[in-house]
Symmetry: C2
Subunit: 174 residues, 2 copies
């Protein structure tokens, strides 16, 4: 049975951040500006769905993993490693019981996405630019602003266990 696991889930959840391949000119704790020009990539909310997940514990969220066209194509073709230009996005929302749904169901069972959680995360594939981190650059935006490199550096180590899948945990949901 095909399982779906989440790289972004894992990385983002361990430290609330995403790893980042620091450019040679990078200064620790300064916001990285090299990825996406310092802002989330335009149109990411329109990207196609890769999969969904729920994290318990401190995270307590519902999340969706979206991919740009390059990424979705690679997923659907089971193409590894992911080609340069792939971008994978992780959106998360608070995990909330839905009274309205529960009433309709006649039992307490329904949990839905509430307000967006902070920490909009991305992985971008550039096998030349991010050699030190498996070809992946990582970025996170909080209230639209990129987090610092020191934070982002904590991410790649978490992704390493998924090396056999090009450092991506998330499987495509059919």
């Amino acid at each position: 049975m095909k399982r779906i696991a989440f790289l972004l889930v894992v990385v983002g959840s361990l430290a609330g951040v995403v790893a980042f391949s620091a450019p040679a000119s990078g200064h620790a704790d300064e916001p990285p500006t090299s990825i996406f020009g310092g802002a989330p990539p335009p149109g990411y909310r329109d990207w196609k769905l890769i999969s969904v997940a729920h994290e318990e514990g401190n995270l307590n969220d519902l999340r969706a993993i979206l991919g740009n066209d390059v990424g979705i194509k690679a997923y659907r073709e089971d193409k590894l490693p992911f080609p340069d230009g792939t971008i994978i996005a992780r959106l998360a929302w608070s995990y909330e019981s839905s009274e309205e749904n529960n009433k309709a169901f006649g039992r307490s069972q329904s949990f839905v996405a509430g307000p967006a959680k902070n920490g909009l995360q991305f992985m971008v594939k550039d096998s030349k630019k991010y050699v030190a981190t498996g070809g992946w650059g990582f970025a996170e935006f909080i209230n639209g602003k990129p987090v610092g490199e020191a934070v982002l550096k904590t991410c790649f180590p978490c992704h390493e266990p998924a090396k056999a899948r090009d450092f991506v945990f998330t499987h495509y949901a059919p």
Copy 2:
């Protein structure tokens, strides 16, 4: 705080089916062919994400609600009632603990989407065609084949509590 509730969740979950506005020529228990020509609408897996949810209990799933372009536009513009041509899709997958993610997190907390669940559900808005069911036609496909009308008729009654939101429970996840 904006809550996200699911019409399709509710309807689909109560009976495992979706309500359907029977055409005048319909015969009970015969597969309806009037919606989408008897097959899921082409390209629905590419539609944009409206929201995500988790249902406990017998359903025990993770689910995503997707919308076609007409539907997404209406959602983003808070436009009610939904315009004719809106289609909302509900996909669901089995709810599975991810050992791989849990290892990376160092605790058991991660639940991901497993294999697709049977019952691919749609709502389509046609205010003239589906007058008896709030302007919505409902369809469900199991292994690609439409379920019978008798089953689909159980759906609209569940949606009625959401009349103030044009019979749609699901809110848009920002």
